[in-house]
């Protein structure tokens, strides 16, 4: 199996304050890997390190065979990493369609309009509700719908890997289930996903493999099914 993401022994700091130390993680093609951890564990910091927002003081990151350790965010995106950021970060006063089209920024330059229209059909197939609301302003959608737009926007980039940061945060339980159903569907279509979550229960159900992060370190890793049974997770459940 080809390795899509290979993070090797990275250290990351905010200025002089170290947050991640010696973090290693791999994601194979077609796999869903989840990174779980309590609030403040350093999950979003890893998101920023991976996307090129934060520099790495040690270690390396390779995306589909290419070293992206020192690349800026727009370059990393060009290498095929798309994101669903924490808190969704939609373009609020713009339409759903505009949000999706911004997701395909690189596709438009590379593949042109025809390819992007096909991607749109694909996304609207997946989320018929968004098709109805394509002209609606993103900020007027419900939380669940906004999350669907955020996921679709990432899909529109036709990336090699999608990186999601807590897609279930702040959503009602029933909507959370919907979001995870979508992730399961994406998995069936063969998309590679690195899923950052606090909701260990749900994340471990969809993932193939999992990593547990505690105060900036990976403290456990393994098969998602195995980890569900382990003590570490029971401890996390109580903490969350």
């Amino acid at each position: 199996m080809t390795t899509m993401i290979e993070i090797s022994n990275i250290d990351v700091a905010y200025g002089k304050v170290p947050v991640l130390s010696d973090v290693s993680l791999t994601v194979a093609k077609g796999e869903i890997v989840t990174l779980i951890g309590a609030n403040g564990a350093g999950k979003t910091t890893l998101f920023r390190a991976l996307t090129g927002v934060l520099p790495k003081s040690r270690g390396s990151i390779v995306l589909d065979g290419k070293d992206i350790t020192r690349m800026k965010p727009d370059r990393v995106a060009r290498e095929g990493l798309a994101v669903v950021p924490e808190g969704r970060r939609l373009f609020g006063p713009m339409s759903v369609l505009d949000n999706l089209m911004l997701g395909s920024f690189l596709r438009l330059t590379g593949q042109g309009k025809g390819a992007v229209n096909e991607d749109l059909d694909m996304v609207f197939d997946l989320f018929p509700r968004l098709a109805e609301r394509r002209e609606q302003l993103a900020r007027t959608l419900s939380g669940g719908e906004q999350q669907m737009v955020a996921i679709s926007r990432a899909l529109m980039a036709r990336p090699k890997v999608i990186l999601m940061d807590e897609p279930s945060i702040g959503l009602a339980p029933i909507i959370v289930r919907e979001v995870f159903d979508v992730i399961r569907k994406l998995k069936e279509s063969g998309i590679t996903i690195l899923l950052i979550e606090q909701n260990a229960r749900m994340a471990l159900k969809v993932a193939d493999r999992a990593y547990v992060m505690e105060i900036g370190r990976i403290t456990a890793e393994g098969d998602a099914g195995d980890l569900r049974q382990s003590d570490i997770i029971r401890k996390l459940y109580l903490a969350a």
Partner: protein, 324 residues
């Protein structure tokens, strides 16, 4: 909803507006009102350019009087001292402004928010100082007078009517270009940068390059207005580059609504009209501007045009709060 509504409206409205503008003098004849309209056109050019930069791309710049002045002085110097035909002088001036804007923009657009505002403001002050000090080319505080009027062949367009048929067609083309731009892919990207440039980077957008492009474009809009003004009035002075003029233009935008091209034009009309109306009151003008602006901001916090639109629509259905 509002987005597509505006897209269709823009295309639908531009043509009749243009036809109306071009037919107006035929219906009303020559008159002083044309002089006022000519000023409205010049103000509108600067305001539309600034609207692209501030309203659509979210980059607060206070350097538009500087580029107005650069356009005006370049045109004046090229035609006065080097004998270029006014239209050629105007074209070369835009090249000069574009190159300067590229240089300045490349530096200042590494900054954001307040820092960007301060940097562009400093640039404006520097330009004004240079114009005053470099008296051997710019005429210093006296400015430059006797700038040749626009002309077509042997016909000099030195009447209000003649100028009208230069500045308004130019404005309408600049308007059309801006309207098409904001509905294009480029427009979508700059709106995205306004909303969240960090997310745009995560989707592969070279944000800085886009900002520089909009800055150059927007500066050239101001510079075109400056060049036309120089030949229209026949005289330029350092006040063209003044900070108070820069602030007037920002007021125009605040008046019309920062992120609507048509709003920029409405604001330009309102401010020009007020200026005319208050001309007897000299310094009181600025106070009246301020008061008018505060009143507009209180009644219509998003500007005159979006406010009026919402107000008109409110009768039919609940306001959506939609704006661009």
């Amino acid at each position: 909803m509002f987005d597509t509504y505006m897209k269709d409206m823009n295309r639908l409205v531009w043509l009749p507006v243009s036809a109306g503008v071009l037919a107006l003098p035929l219906l009303l004849g020559d008159g002083y009102y044309l002089n006022v309209l000519n000023f409205i056109a010049l103000y509108s050019m600067i305001a539309i350019g600034l609207c692209l930069l501030i309203g659509y791309c979210g980059q607060l710049s206070i350097s538009h009087s500087a580029f107005f002045a650069i356009g005006a002085y370049s045109s004046a110097i090229l035609s006065l001292r080097f004998g270029f035909h006014p239209f050629v002088a105007i074209l070369i001036s835009q090249l000069i402004s574009a190159v300067l804007a590229l240089g300045i923009g490349s530096v200042v657009l590494r900054l954001k928010g307040h820092y960007l505002a301060i940097a562009t403001l400093s640039f404006t002050i520097i330009v004004e100082v240079i114009i005053v000090e470099a008296a051997w080319v710019t005429g210093g505080l006296q400015g430059l007078s006797g700038i040749p009027p626009l002309s077509l062949g042997s016909m000099e367009l030195d009447t209000d009517l003649g100028v009208y048929y230069v500045v308004w067609p130019v404005l309408l083309l600049l308007l059309l270009f801006a309207l098409n731009l904001i509905d294009s892919r480029f427009g979508r990207v700059i709106k995205g940068i306004r909303e969240n440039e960090d997310v745009m980077r995560l989707f592969g957008v070279g944000v800085y390059g886009y900002k520089v492009k909009v800055f150059v474009l927007s500066s050239v809009y101001a510079s075109i207005a400056g060049s036309l003004y120089a030949h229209f009035i026949g005289f330029v002075s350092p006040s063209a580059a003044s900070l108070s003029f820069a602030i007037d233009i920002i007021m125009v935008l605040a008046f019309g609504g920062f992120n609507l091209i048509w709003g920029a034009m409405l604001g330009a009309a309102a401010i020009t009209y007020l200026t005319e109306y208050l001309t007897d009151f000299a310094d009181f003008k600025r106070v009246a501007f301020g008061v008018a602006l505060v009143v507009v901001m209180i009644i219509f916090p998003s500007g005159l045009l979006p406010g009026l639109q919402r107000w008109l629509k409110a009768g039919r259905r609940a306001p959506t709060g939609a704006q661009r």
